[in-house]
């Protein structure tokens, strides 16, 4: 009995310590919106390729004006599990969609004959072209605020795509009364921060959230989707959040599908070992 209690205590402890941690991060932030679901959220769920393509379009036409994505190469768009993966092109560098996307960008290079700095059209092997040449330039163009790199944005925020979705859709209401909003900033209940020094209302009802330098980025019909999906604000936000989730975790499909094989193997292997254990110990008192 006590042995079981011992085991249960130890197990509960590990679970409790692991479970306690996320509690921290949600200190001053509105609860994330629960009105969307993504195909990749379940343990075995994969990305929805059409959604990733729509999300890429939102990123390209809206987000990429300010946000870099330095860890992602054009070829990654054609990787297995990516927005433009096509089994006909196992080498994503050959994928015609990827090539077309890349060649519209200009990247810095050195002319091999003269040694002069030149611009050339990007190839599939190049990385996404950042909107600003460096951090000070990005700050200067954005009122002193730095638009974060989006390569790992979904992995770098508690709640991931749901956080991004909540943040960019906003709550659709005016800022709470009594809150003074600094110049060039916007109030967002999902942005982490502390607005108490800008708030003159009821001290027991300090609004959650913080100020963000980004104006609400999406409106209905901000983009036109190629697959005919109606581009509502909610649709755009859902799709771009999915695209950013992919950018943060491009190997998710490979990971989840390999996991199934590994777990099946391990369960069978454990069963065999257990049978061996019972066999070897069958006439041995212990």
């Amino acid at each position: 009995m006590l042995r079981k209690l011992f085991a249960a205590t130890a197990f509960a402890g590990v679970v409790a310590v692991l479970g306690a941690q996320p509690a921290l991060a949600s200190s001053s932030q509105a609860p994330l919106k629960e009105d969307v679901h993504w195909s990749f959220e379940s343990p075995l769920g994969m990305y929805d390729q059409a959604q990733l393509q729509r999300g890429y379009k939102v990123y390209k036409e809206v987000c990429s004006a300010c946000h870099s994505m330095n860890l992602v190469a054009f070829r990654n768009l054609g990787d297995p599990g990516g927005p433009f993966w096509n089994p006909k092109y196992p080498n994503p560098n050959d994928n015609p969609v990827v090539k077309t996307i890349a060649k519209d960008y200009q990247v810095n290079d050195i002319d091999p004959d003269s040694g002069d700095p030149i611009k050339r059209p990007a190839t599939s092997a190049d990385y996404f072209v950042a909107p600003f040449p460096n951090v000070p330039a990005a700050r200067a163009a954005n009122g002193g605020a730095l638009p974060p790199d989006m390569s790992l944005l979904a992995a770098a925020r508690e709640g991931g795509p749901r956080y991004i979705y909540s943040l960019v859709t906003g709550d659709g209401t005016d800022p709470p009364p009594g809150l003074t909003i600094p110049d060039g900033k916007y109030y967002d209940p999902w942005m982490s921060g502390d607005v108490s020094s800008y708030y003159k209302g009821d001290p027991h009802k300090i609004p959650v959230g913080g100020f963000i330098a980004m104006p609400p980025p999406l409106i209905d019909d901000r983009v036109t989707f190629d697959d005919g999906t109606k581009a509502t604000l909610k649709q755009e936000a859902t799709d771009v959040a999915a695209f950013l989730a992919w950018a943060s975790d491009p190997k998710m499909e490979e990971r989840k599908s390999l996991g199934v094989s590994v777990l099946i193997f391990l369960v069978i292997f454990s069963g065999l070992l257990y049978a061996s254990y019972r066999q070897i110990w069958r006439n041995v008192g212990h």
């Binding site: 011992f6 306690a20 190997k251």
Partner: protein, 440 residues
């Protein structure tokens, strides 16, 4: 290595030749036939599981080092772009290594708890226990430095907070911190020395593990009854009985490991570490990895920084002197019903300390209730909960165990660790007929 007679018989001329020059085959064969108590339960499989964990960390770590760039500008990119995106199965190797560290600590904590419960630290196994403590401290140092290497926000700021602790020491504090940092701030030199040491320490751990296993084979295993091995009928050869049991346990452990690696790869990390290190931007909450949280809570529970650092060190140091603090002659807590209760309370408070370490110091325990402020903090705060828990943590080792061993009434201890199944009726511990011991 061990005192049991060697049964190895060199089969070929080559083996006979080698056996008189380097009896390495005999050494291995003797390990396999080592007489092991026949009553070892699954709690005794964590040694094998830990050996597996160390091997996984070393193998995956060596591969990761092939792709890693230890520089302030390159570290984050080499991990997040190179290893996670471009290296074939890099995400898997890093997933195994990062989650492997947590699995290693889960296993080591269960291994330590087992040792505490069954009195495995008592004579004649003190050196075995001490070596285990050394491994544990080395593991924490290695894990801490490894966590710095991806050079994310939590890596950087965790390194800064922990290394700054040394600055609390008078006179030597500052030069020591400068030496550790390789400059006047956490920067490239810090990252490089941490990488170098992170590669070195696992091999030191492996060497101490070899000593730990050696020290195990001199007195032989303890067992759940704590009763010494008295005859051959008490033991079984290690192979195949415990090789198969350990392998089964390792395989089950791998299932848990795989669930984390493939389906919850980020569950034990912090999202902030996916943001590249920025020395100018302090994250809102700097929290160490879960396995260091109880010690972090003890550190913060003490108002004075230097005393806090000493308390943290003391929480580890007390483990080293435990064999001489516990005065009871009965090893296993199976026969120490009073000590057992104090032990479970100790486990509970250690977990509470872990929880406290993950929370804000002034967070409320009962929300909405403000109590009197006492020594800088509200009575109803995480800090006070940490203080009470830390007090019990130390009291268990320094007060309860020494006194209890001399005053408690223990249950009758069986004559032998193994009596044939038929002779003990259900519900009674093996050998329950023996006279009760009232004094240790």
């Amino acid at each position: 290595m061990s005192e049991h007679p060697s049964t190895y018989n060199p089969g070929s001329a080559f083996e006979r030749w080698l056996d008189t020059r380097l009896p390495i085959v005999r050494f291995g064969a003797d390990l396999m036939t080592f007489p092991t108590p026949r009553n070892l339960i699954y709690w005794y499989t964590f040694g094998g599981i830990l050996a597996f964990c160390l091997a996984v960390q070393i193998v995956t770590g060596i591969v990761l080092a092939m792709h890693y760039d230890a520089s302030g500008t390159g570290a984050f990119i080499s991990v997040q772009r190179g290893i996670m995106r471009d290296v074939n199965y890099g995400w898997l190797i890093r997933g195994l290594h990062a989650n492997g560290a947590s699995m290693f600590f889960i296993a080591v904590y269960l291994h330590i708890l087992r040792g505490l419960y069954y009195g495995s630290y008592k004579a004649p196994r003190e050196v075995l226990w001490l070596l285990g403590c050394v491994i544990y401290v080395l593991m924490m140092a290695t894990a801490f430095m490894g966590y710095v290497l991806p050079w994310g926000q939590m890596s950087f700021w965790g390194a800064k907070v922990i290394t700054s602790l040394l600055g609390a020491f008078p006179v030597i504090g500052k030069p020591l911190t400068t030496l550790l940092w390789g400059g006047f701030a956490v920067d490239d030199p810090t990252l490089n020395r941490f990488f170098s040491l992170h590669y070195l320490l696992p091999f030191v751990i492996a060497a101490v593990v070899a000593l730990h296993v050696w020290a195990l084979h001199v007195p032989g295993n303890n067992n759940p009854t704590g009763v010494n091995v008295k005859s051959n009928s008490d033991t079984l050869p290690f192979h195949p009985f415990y090789t198969v049991k350990d392998l089964f346990a390792i395989s089950v452990f791998m299932i848990l490991f795989a669930v984390f690696v493939f389906y919850l790869p980020d569950a034990m990390g912090k999202v902030d570490n996916n943001i590249a290190a920025d020395p100018l931007k302090t994250p809102a909450h700097i929290v160490p990895e879960w396995y260091l949280l109880p010690f972090y809570a003890i550190l913060r529970a003490v108002p004075d920084k230097l005393t806090g650092v000493l308390a943290l060190a003391g929480a580890l140091a007390v483990l080293f002197v435990l064999p001489w603090l516990d005065t009871s002659k009965v090893r296993s807590m199976r026969y120490r019903p009073t000590a057992r209760i104090y032990f479970f309370i100790w486990v509970f408070f250690s977990l509470v300390l872990g929880w406290c370490g993950s929370q804000e110091p002034d967070g409320q325990i009962v929300s909405g209730f403000a109590g009197p402020v006492f020594i800088d903090y509200d009575i109803n705060s995480v800090t006070w909960l940490s203080r009470i828990s830390a007090l019990y943590y130390f009291a268990y080792f320094l007060v309860i165990l020494p006194i209890l061993g001399m005053t408690e009434t223990t249950l009758p201890v069986p004559d032998s660790l193994y009596t044939p199944v038929l002779s003990h009726p259900a519900g009674l511990p093996v050998g329950a007929a023996a006279a009760p011991e009232t004094k240790g």
